[in-house]
Symmetry: C2
Subunit: 138 residues, 2 copies
DNA sequence: GATTGACTTAGACATTGTCCATTGTAGGAT
DNA sequence: ATCCTACAATGGACAATGTCTAAGTCAATC
């Protein structure tokens, strides 16, 4: 993600302090923040950044394919910057902890044509649920 | 689902007009309503039913394992009464249409032990996304 | 260093979900 | 059949998440 800013600039993205901060907050692996969590962290670095800007910027990053939107919990959307390496998610039903996981095979190819109903299927989101070791021992 | 009411009564569920109506609204295959959609349909049959009761009743049906909560869109939770036949969902990214689908194999077994990180994995939710024939031709 | 169109802001608004104090009632006991 | 009581329903306030708009600001270009 370190070269994300370069890539975005190359696509004609106007570079502002706000966008830089949002991108920095999302930097790293295994990051799965909600929009308001991103906002909270962004405010620490740039106190005057507004909620609307964070929502807008996240939406743009998703449109550009640089960040994935995932529905791992049944509440707020989470934003996953690890968009360029296919993976799925394993979620603790008790504490909400999230791990990136890599199932065998390609889940997309498990859906036969007869089950596609004429859809052009382009994407699949898999969420495994269970209890993490911490919660199991508690 | 026609025998749902019997099953619930057998479990000591107190039968009220409101619960009956919610169960009736959910009856059928390929039903994927949001809580507020369930409420809207319930009001048609029982005008004084409250939103809170619908939310409570749906929550109970989920706890009892009679209805599944699915996060197919990235907005409101949807409630799927088809809880006793394993299936996954195919969603149109454009119009939101939802189909029940049955991928090959068991998605749960595609997650190797080395990718479970000590979790006790009990469940998997798969959402395929694409464009439906209607939206493709428009 | 002026210009301009894209970006940001603050806050109102919309949608979805939860909580609580009060009122009502299903189903068992009499 | 009537009464009791624990469980359920109500309505409205509140919380959490997400969207929109009008006005002000600024990055990139010239």
């Amino acid at each position: 993600m370190s070269d994300l800013l370069e890539r975005l600039r190359g696509r004609g993205w106007r570079m502002t302090a706000q966008r830089r901060v949002v991108a920095e907050v999302l930097d790293g692996e295994h990051v799965h923040l909600t929009a308001d969590e991103v906002h909270a962290r962004a405010v620490e670095r740039l106190p005057e950044i507004s909620r609307a800007t964070v929502y807008n910027t996240l939406g743009e990053l998703v449109s550009l394919g640089e960040v994935l939107e995932v529905a791992t919990d049944h509440r707020a959307k989470r934003y996953d910057p690890n968009a360029h390496r296919p993976h799925q998610h394993l979620v603790c039903a008790h504490c909400g902890a999230i791990r990136d996981v890599h199932p065998n095979g390609n889940p997309l190819s498990d859906l036969p044509d007869s089950e596609r109903f004429g859809f052009t299927v382009s994407d699949v989101e898999v969420t495994y649920r269970g209890i993490c070791p911490n919660c199991a021992s508690a």
